[in-house]
């Protein structure tokens, strides 16, 4: 569904967050919740971008360092660090981000195709760029970003 962004019409909402210096956003419909509690169990031998697993009300959720996954550098755990729980392929995955900002409104029509490379984010993780209140928000393709490494592994 996200691949066809250029064909999508109408308004959308994106949940925005910082990965390092980059302001990114994902479709709010994908977000289940945003979690402040960061307690996880490391999994030895896991891919380097997987921080570990946590207990989300009885479910085991894989925590992914989203910055690292996208090639934007490791996320440092601070007071503002959050975990965004997204639903992906009938599984819940926690994305660790540096800081949550706000929810922006935009229209699919206004999204500009992404430049070839923005601050190391690989193009295929990218839906496009959208300008909101003088800020550029990079809209991410969550499925693509989470599916990728599986094949390689």
């Amino acid at each position: 569904m996200e691949e066809t962004v250029q064909k999508r019409k109408g308004p959308f909402q994106a949940s925005c967050f910082y990965l390092g210096e980059a302001l990114c956003g994902i479709d709010i419909n994908l977000v289940q919740e945003i979690n402040k509690q960061i307690v996880y169990t490391a999994v030895p031998h896991a891919p380097d971008y997987v921080l570990g697993i946590m207990n989300l009300r009885g479910r085991i959720v894989t925590i992914v360092d989203f910055g690292k996954k996208l090639g934007l550098g490791c996320t440092k755990i601070t007071d503002s660090t959050r975990i965004i729980i997204v639903n992906s392929k009938e599984e819940q995955i926690g994305l660790m981000v540096d800081r949550i900002t706000d929810v922006v409104n935009g229209r699919w029509e206004d999204i500009a195709p992404p430049p070839a490379n923005i601050k190391g984010i690989q193009g295929r993780f990218f839906l496009g760029v959208c300008k909101v209140k003088n800020r550029l928000v990079a809209l991410l393709n969550v499925e693509e970003a989470l599916a990728d490494e599986l094949v390689k592994a």
Partner: protein, 1056 residues
Amino acid sequence: MTMLDDETLQMYVEEAKEHLESIESDLLAIEQMGEDIDEELVNKVFRAAHSIKGGAGFLGLNTIKELAHKIENVLDMMRNRELVPNPEIVNILLLAFDRLAELIDNVEESNDMDISEHVAALSAIASGGVPESKSEEAADKSDEAAVEMQDDNKIVVKNSQGQVVFEKELDLDQVTKGGKFLYLLELDLVKDVQEKNKQPYDVIKDIRSTGDVLDFKIDLEAIGSLEEDKFTKTIPLYFLYATIIEPDIINTLFDLPDEQVKVISGQDTPAASGTEQEVKEQIEAEKQEEQMQKIESEPKKEQVEEEKIVDISSSSQKQASKQVAPKPAAKKDTSDAKPKAAVKTSKHSTGVHAETLRVHVSLLENLMNLAGELVLSRNQLMQAIAQQNMHDIQAASQRIDLVTSELQEAIMLTRMQPIGNIFNKFPRVVRDLARDLGKEIELILEGKEVELDKTIIEGLSDPLTHLVRNSADHGIEPPEERIAKGKDPVGKIILKAYHASGQVNIEIKDDGRGMDAEAIARKAIEKGLVTEEQVRSMNEKEKLNLIFLPGLSTKEQVSDVSGRGVGMDVVKSNLDKLGGQIDIETELGKGTTIRIKLPLTLAIIPSLLISVGGERFAIPQVNVNELIEVPAAQVKERIEKVGDADVLILRGELIPLLSLAEVLGIERESKFESAEGEDTFSDKYRTDKGAVKVVIAQAGSFKYGLVVDELHDSVEIVVKPLGRHLKQCEGYAGATIMGDGRVALILDVVGLAKLAELSAVNVAEKEKTVEIEEGEEVHTLFLFNNAPGEACAVPLDLVARVELIKAEDIEEIGGKKVIKYRGGSLPVFALEEVANVEHLELQGDLVVIVFVMGGHEVGLLATPPVDAVETKVKIDVFSLKQPGIAGSTIINDKTTLIVDVYEFFETLNPDWFIERKEVAEEIKKEAGEKKVLLVEDSDFFRNQVKKFIEGEGYKVVAAEDGLVAWNYLNEHPDEISVVVTDIEMPNMDGFELTKLIKESPQFAHLPVIALTSLAGEEDIEKGKAVGIDDYQIKLDKEKLLQSIFNFLSKMQKQAA
């Protein structure tokens, strides 16, 4: 097709399935009883078919209804004793029920599925299987009135004489909507109205009160005229009548003979082509029956007529035209190509239906109740917390604890299903097989009520079917063969389930020909699955287990039942997946018992919690063999390096060691600081207190030791799957949530071994060489080279440690070579100093093999590489015997010298042994000529130990095992003064021998000294319990001799 209410449909399907479940066994019972039918049983099946039909009618599932109806007819005849159930009839019924089950499984497509074959077969029974006189009635009763449907929704209804009664424009589908039936009522104004004291008006009113009269006609022609002879004295009234009342009860409503009430079928829309065709076929069949009756009166024409019939109708009608019941099974292949395809597609689409589970209402109520309790307790807890009332908080949490465990139990119960669910299909399987194979087999089911987790039940179905089929096909012999063998011609298969030690056991037991281990082994060799060599070292059980190898089938001829060469390996792998174990017991000619052990449930597993570097992990209890804590003081003795692998010596067994921290790459929190300031390889395993904690993990056939930081409790954990990003991580079986809400990983012991490159293959091979046949001898030898290329070996049990040193580390002091070792100096010797062997150049890397001799540590210099092998060899004690060399053997195609360590060091340092010599003299004086009974299974050790006891001046009687020793004792009761025995021995082990000695009044006074490679706490406990007086380690010569001396002198004193 009518739009169906999903929920109603689902309910119907489930109910129908429930009805069908028991039918099979009931039918088989009916078949067994034959003429002597149990009406109750037939009624039960009848009711089942009836309910299915009723529901199908309501839901517009016409094909199902049709088939159920036909079945019902046959059953009804059976019930009325018009039909004797014989195997043919029951077979047809079974097949029809199978088809019915198929239809119900694919309920959405059922209306398009073909049932003509079954309908024809059933109709044939109904019409053909009954006596002539009743045939007309039966046919009328079971078959519908002739109805022809024409293109423009016009129907033509004929009466029993084939005359056209109604010709009417009517949308049948419209009329029969909502499960209505269309009937043709044939009332006789004289017989049915007047003679029964009714008024025509009442009759019509009656009829109208229960349904709609669509048309009505008086057949004046049938009355005939006075001039004609065939004045019938009847005035037929015909009603075309639609009602929801079902055909089997409609007669009672009107009090009419069966032949006067006819169902007009074909409620389908013309669009449903399959059914339309069927309607036509029925019509054809109808006509045909009419024709048949004609034919019977005109036998000459029969041949011609029948050919005609064949021309105009499909093959199913051909069946109907024969008076004998057909065998649909045989013809399935020819006529069923199309329906098969239909089934395929429909199966595909049924995947949409969510899986459902039938749960007893009382269980649900219990759950509700518990959920209510949980909510109440939560409220109490919250209130208590708000008030900071510790006492109440405690009370509430206790309550929550109780309720939760109860809740968990109750929920687990909902997943439990009786194993009867799968057992019940076997009577049919076995019956069909027995028929196909021409065997007589009786199947006995036991323990159907035993409950197992749903997932296990599901996974068990295929392997069990396979095993039962195997028993029937390969196991049970044909009747002639059985009679020839003097067995009951009826073979017996017992399928039994029972609980034992927290597991469910399932046994498949037959009294057939049994399995020939040799034949299996031969086959395995033939197929190149194992080598002859491997087979030779196998025992009976291992040979039998070869059957689980992929690609092995022992039946000479491949039958379509089983014997395709796949199967047993699949059975095993399926059972492995369920965490089950399989075991074969067989006696040639007597039968086979296959035993399967299964866990009750997979969702919750008892596990051991351990931790490494502050992280907790769970290991499933089934994989935990034992827990060992090696005390700090023993670490050096018990953890050894063999080659580049670290091993733990456990009761003489070498167990490869894995550090969990190392495998997982976890930094350990507290490292052991060697007090002596010197690191040895084993230090990395130690905890900060210096001890080593090991979980002996069992993965299938191989074992290894997992070194951990901390051993915690055993807990029951709920297994949760890991996310997809972690799927490629080997070593984990999932994750679980601990009491504190944190997550712990569940370790997969097999995966861990893979990670650590502990090759299962190697271990398995090793395992094979260990498990040798009884009577042969295994040596665990430590291999090293003296000079390069000169292979030498010592028994591993004698080796205390191995150190790698550099030649420069050797110092020569006072003519003796020493190395600095653990803060002291260790005297080292080269083999050439005693034995006539090649010169060992002291340069480069060397190995020092450390022995403990007479309380001293001494080292033997050797050249790497070193290795440990467990091997079955014969030691030649003559050819190469010389001082310091006990003999030779061939290991890895090389002649290897076996070093006699005692002799070697005694020659070198006679002074170390002087003290003992004196002692020996003393013993000799005091004890006189007393004999020592030495019991030891290893030839090598027996000779070694015998030699050194004899060296002390005792007489030694040697025995290979406990049994031999015991017999000797009994034959020579006064000869023996002390018994020295090994623990692990074939036939009778040391414990048993000691027990016998201590229990017999004649020998109870004899001291028993147990010799072991290493005495574990457990063994010592056990030994004490049976009366072992002392434990000595095999290699500690002096202590053993001291012990013998002590006991003998004590006895001397007592005697004096």
